[in-house]
């Protein structure tokens, strides 16, 4: 292998840092492939009640985070760009009031081009949002229709231009490849036109037809074909070469950035560092626990309000918005660390892993690592264990063998 280890920052000392994730579960219309915790057409009062609930959830958590500094905030969804500037300013004010915010905070908001106005972009910028992640997915009209996206290719170009004009100098665009019936040439065309926009960051995901989605239903009914995995593989390989040529560095299986523009927030996940997720269906890895909030927005709002009122009245009480959680045992922590770490191009540092867990990756996962080295999916370079070029697209084959053995019940 001749590829250099990417220069994405290694896990720097973030022991006093915290990543904050806020989930906005509303969308104008559900996209055909989407199985995220997002909803279309929720009643207005629920949307209205959501902001105060988010603010209250912050108040519930704030004491636990008082010694930490937030160095990345991420509004994910759903479609956070749908939230009004009024609500947005209440939320951002609460964030600043409840948490210590680092001066160089990375502050990302996910946006859909459809209804993104110049005024809104100006407003977001003024509130302190400094990174925009836009769901583009494709610049081919027929693909956008197939995916049930509401915007046109032209709207994407306008929205990007407006974002630039509003002062967003850190922009991510999300793209989807491996769409059924999508030839390599169409994907190339999308990528070429995206490159003209010179975003600082690009995420390219292979389409997966998830059970329960509209797309899944149409495939099951044979109305449309399944995506062709070999075409997707061709597209992926082409993308790696092309983006490298264009000066983008791939730092994760699906993520590319101009130098120094890696997404700090996503790195937190892949480094298995703590993050606090707020909102319906949000996930946290906080105080050693993995926590999931209830998915349904109405139940989330009720639960937060109950907990908050109880806290006001008695000074204590459980967090009812939490639907479930686990404290990963040692084996699960190791598996998480290696599985998440291997998603990064540089892989995991064998020394760091050994120091952290008191056992080397080879001692913990010997047969699995040996098997996949033999198959050419894993390799060792300069004290790092990482996926090979071929291993990137076959990463699940590796990860499956790294899972801890389930206890037989």
């Amino acid at each position: 292998m001749t590829t250099q280890p990417a220069s994405a920052p290694a896990s720097t000392d973030r022991s006093r840092s915290l990543a904050l994730y806020l989930h906005i579960p509303f969308c104008t219309a559900k996209c055909g492939y989407c199985d995220f915790n997002s909803y279309e057409g929720l009643p207005g009062h629920l949307v209205a009640d959501y902001t105060p609930a988010l603010v209250r959830e912050m108040e519930l958590w704030a004491p636990a985070a008082k010694d930490l500094t937030v160095d990345t905030v991420f509004f994910g969804g759903g479609t956070p760009s749908l939230t009004s500037l009024d609500d947005m300013s209440q939320i951002t004010a609460a964030i600043r009031a409840q948490f210590n915010i680092s001066p160089d905070v990375e502050w990302t908001l996910e946006a859909n081009p459809t209804e993104l106005s110049r005024e809104h972009l100006d407003g977001l910028r003024a509130l302190g949002v400094n990174r925009l992640s836009m769901g583009v997915q494709s610049l081919q009209p027929e693909e956008l229709t197939l995916l049930e996206r509401l915007h046109s290719p032209e709207r994407v170009i306008e929205a990007v231009r407006d974002a630039r004009a509003a002062g967003f100098d850190n922009l991510n665009l999300d793209l989807i490849f491996g769409i059924m019936g999508q030839p390599l040439s169409k994907w190339q065309d999308t990528v070429e036109r995206i490159l003209e926009l010179r975003p600082e960051h690009l995420s390219c995901y292979a389409l997966t037809v998830e059970p329960g989605t509209a797309l899944y239903y149409r495939v099951a009914k044979s109305q449309i074909e399944e995506p062709d995995p070999d075409v997707a593989a061709d597209q992926y390989e082409w993308t790696r070469t092309r983006l490298a040529q264009a000066g983008y560095e791939q730092y994760e299986i699906s993520n590319w950035a101009l130098p120094g523009r890696e997404c700090r927030h996503n790195l937190v996940y892949w480094h298995a560092e703590p993050y606090l997720g707020l909102g319906a269906g949000a996930h946290s890895f906080f105080l050693g626990r993995r926590i999931a909030n209830v998915d349904a927005p109405n139940r989330y709002v009720e639960a937060v309000n109950e907990s908050w009122e109880e806290r006001q009245a008695t000074g204590r009480g459980e967090l009812r918005q939490i639907a479930g959680g686990e404290t990963p045992d040692e084996a699960t922590q190791r598996a998480d660390a290696i599985i998440l770490g291997l998603r990064l191009m540089r892989g995991i540092s064998i020394a760091d892993f050994t120091e952290r867990f008191g056992v080397s990756p080879d001692d913990a996962f010997g047969p699995a690592i040996a098997k996949h080295e033999a198959l050419g999916l894993l390799e060792r370079v300069d004290g790092q264990l990482r996926l090979t070029e071929r291993g990137l697209l076959l990463s699940n084959e590796v990860f499956v063998d790294l899972l801890p053995d389930e206890d037989d019940d």
């Binding site: 070999d230 937190v268 949000a282 999931a292 076959l394 899972l403």
Partner: protein, 606 residues
């Protein structure tokens, strides 16, 4: 209850003619089951029965009934399966009864399996009550079907009862007919106990439960008992009857049906067809005649996916055999699959049900090999052997003659399909025997007929039934029985995966058809074996000569999609699901082969 007030009967019919639904109505009318416990086909209590919508196990239940004479009767009903693969259940149920209700669907009329069941009941001299069911349906032809019953089976016109198991019409009439026409049991209650074990089941707390029909004497709590054939001795943990849940009663007398919890933990200590009696001087000396053992029609290997589960599979088979008297098995081993069991089944549905039950009830992951019939083989040395797996087939130079089982197939259908059937049967190496008319419609082609054919058993195993249904738009129904062996011309088709011969994938095919079969099988395997990390060649060979080659191309992509907001638990779950899927596959060398691939030979005709 005194015997004059007891009636024992089975419900028999062709598949889907409404036995279990009719049983529901009788349970309601008699109040045997509380309304709140009622659901459709309540006697189909196994998950598998409910999912497939068919009865698999015969199920007994006791009901109280106040007849027109004002007397209270104890009626014992056994709902039976209709599918031909479960005939053994029916015959044992019938042997525990004095009569049977013969249900015929008013929209379908007499079907092949109706007649097969009638013959079973007649052999046992049982009183039959003909019931024309589903008269509520717009397409019902009750009069025509009643006439069939009169003409074909010889009932009197006034014997036929009309009913709808859906609306409940006629249900009380049926119960009344049971009381009036079916003779009460007549065993001597003062004779030494003799009870027939017609079914059994393992219970973790109560040990082996034997389901019995008491023919003579009494079975009560507190007395030591003995199973005569297996000479197992025990003191009952519980005595009772079915409602259909187990109901304690402490006493079962001649004429009654119920169960005894034996407390026995060794499952091999009891067997269907055994005789239960009192242990010691008060016991019987002569056992009851018992049942004919079931004759397996098809054979297949069953192996644990994970070879560590061999012992668990053996335990599971032992326990399942208690509850499935038709299942046979013995240990075997395969170079590709390791240690497992050669099992004999009554048909493919039976095989599927056994595999499902083993997996579900005993939490096992299994691989079954393609089913085979049993061949008779004369070697050049004059030796006679029987083989039921492709691996056992000797090389052609050692074989003087091979014979395969043939079946007599009866098919009921409208006359207009006689030609269609002729074609299907010929395609499958079969012969036409005769056609009889079940009735005479004005339009001759609408008359219903019963066709008789002779075919090799192996030919009806593979999608024959599906073809029959689709080519006759569902109007035909079939039954079959072994009738003997005839000379066969067959060869073994070997399969090589990644260069290695895999015994468990080989098949016995007609010699004249071996080349095309090899190509079809290789192609089917290519579809069924998932892509691996490397190219996997698949070859079909006959006598060492490769006749077909396909390649499963290496996998290039298996990567997770975007997961929002750090939902790592979910990512892990997705991976765990993939891992489970892989665990269900069998490693053949370094190739992961799914269960379905071993059945590829059944799918070759697609």
């Amino acid at each position: 209850m005194e015997q004059s007030r007891i009636r024992n009967f089975s419900i028999i019919a062709h598949i889907d003619h409404g036995k279990s639904t009719l049983a529901d109505r009788m349970l309601e009318v008699t109040g045997a089951i509380e309304l709140r416990d009622m659901r459709e086909q309540v006697l189909d209590s196994m998950d598998l029965e409910r999912e497939k919508g068919i009865t698999i196990k015969a199920q007994a239940v006791r009901m109280p009934f106040t007849a027109a004479d004002g007397n209270q009767y104890e009626i014992n009903m056994v709902d039976t399966p209709g599918h031909v693969d479960f005939t053994y259940e029916v015959s044992r149920a019938l042997a525990a009864c004095e009569g049977a209700i013969l249900v015929v669907d008013a929209t379908q009329g007499i079907q092949a399996q109706t007649l097969a069941n009638v013959y079973l009941a007649m052999d046992l001299n049982l009183k039959l009550i003909p019931v024309v069911n589903k008269i509520d349906l717009p397409s019902a032809e009750p009069e025509r079907v009643a006439q069939e019953l009169i003409d074909v089976i010889g009932f009197d016109p006034d014997e036929v009862v009309f009913a709808s198991a859906k609306t409940g019409v006629g249900v009380t009439d049926i119960l009344q007919a049971v009381v009036e026409r079916i003779p009460p049991p007549q065993g001597d209650r003062n004779a030494p106990l003799r009870a027939m074990v017609f079914d059994a089941k393992y219970d973790a707390f109560k040990g082996v439960l034997v389901y019995i029909r008491v023919l003579e004497g009494r079975a009560r709590m507190g007395e030591r008992m003995r199973l005569m054939q297996q000479s197992a001795r025990f003191e009952p943990v519980e005595v009772g009857y079915f409602r259909p849940a187990l109901q304690k009663s402490d006493l079962l007398e001649a004429g009654e049906v119920g169960y005894i919890a034996t407390g026995l933990k060794g499952v091999s200590q009891s067997r269907v067809g055994d005789t239960l009696t009192i242990d010691g001087p008060g016991g019987a000396t002569e056992p009851l005649p018992g049942y004919q053992p079931a004759k397996a029609m098809v054979f297949a290997g069953i192996y644990p996916t994970d070879s560590d589960s061999y012992a668990a599979l053996r335990d599971a088979l032992e326990r399942l055999t208690l509850n499935d008297a038709a299942l046979q098995w013995e240990p075997e081993s395969s170079a590709a699959l390791g240690f497992g069991f050669r099992c004999g089944f009554l048909g493919l549905l039976h095989m599927e049900i056994v595999q499902e039950r083993l997996e579900r009830e005993f939490d096992l992951d299994l691989v079954a090999t393609a089913p085979s019939v049993e061949y008779e083989l004369t070697t050049t040395g004059g030796e006679e052997i029987r083989i039921d797996s492709p691996a056992e087939l000797l090389s052609p130079d050692k074989i003087a003659e091979i014979r395969e089982p043939w079946v007599r197939v009866t098919i009921s259908m409208p006359a207009r399909y006689i030609g269609t059937l002729m074609q299907l049967v010929t395609e499958r190496r079969g012969e036409f025997d005769r056609v009889e008319y079940l009735d005479h419609a004005e339009d001759e082609s609408e008359s219903r007929v019963l066709g008789t054919y002779h075919l090799p058993l192996s030919e009806i195993l593979v999608e024959f039934y599906d073809q029959l249904k689709s080519r006759t738009s569902g109007y035909a129904a079939m039954d079959y029985a072994i009738e003997g062996y005839r000379r066969a011309h067959v060869s073994r088709l070997d399969i090589l995966v990644n260069g290695e011969s895999v015994d468990a994938l080989s098949a016995i095919v007609p010699t004249g058809d071996a080349g095309p079969s090899g190509r079809k099988l290789a192609l089917k395997l290519k579809e069924l074996i998932p892509r691996q990390m490397f190219d996997v060649p698949i070859q079909a060979a006959i006598g060492g000569k490769v006749v077909a080659r396909e390649t499963v191309k290496a996998l290039r992509k298996n990567v997770l999609a975007k997961c929002y907001g750090g939902d790592i638990t979910r990512k892990r779950k997705l991976l765990e699901k993939q891992k489970k899927g892989k665990k269900r596959m069998k490693m053949i060398g370094s190739v992961e082969v799914p269960q379905e691939a071993f059945m590829a030979v059944l799918k070759m005709r697609d």
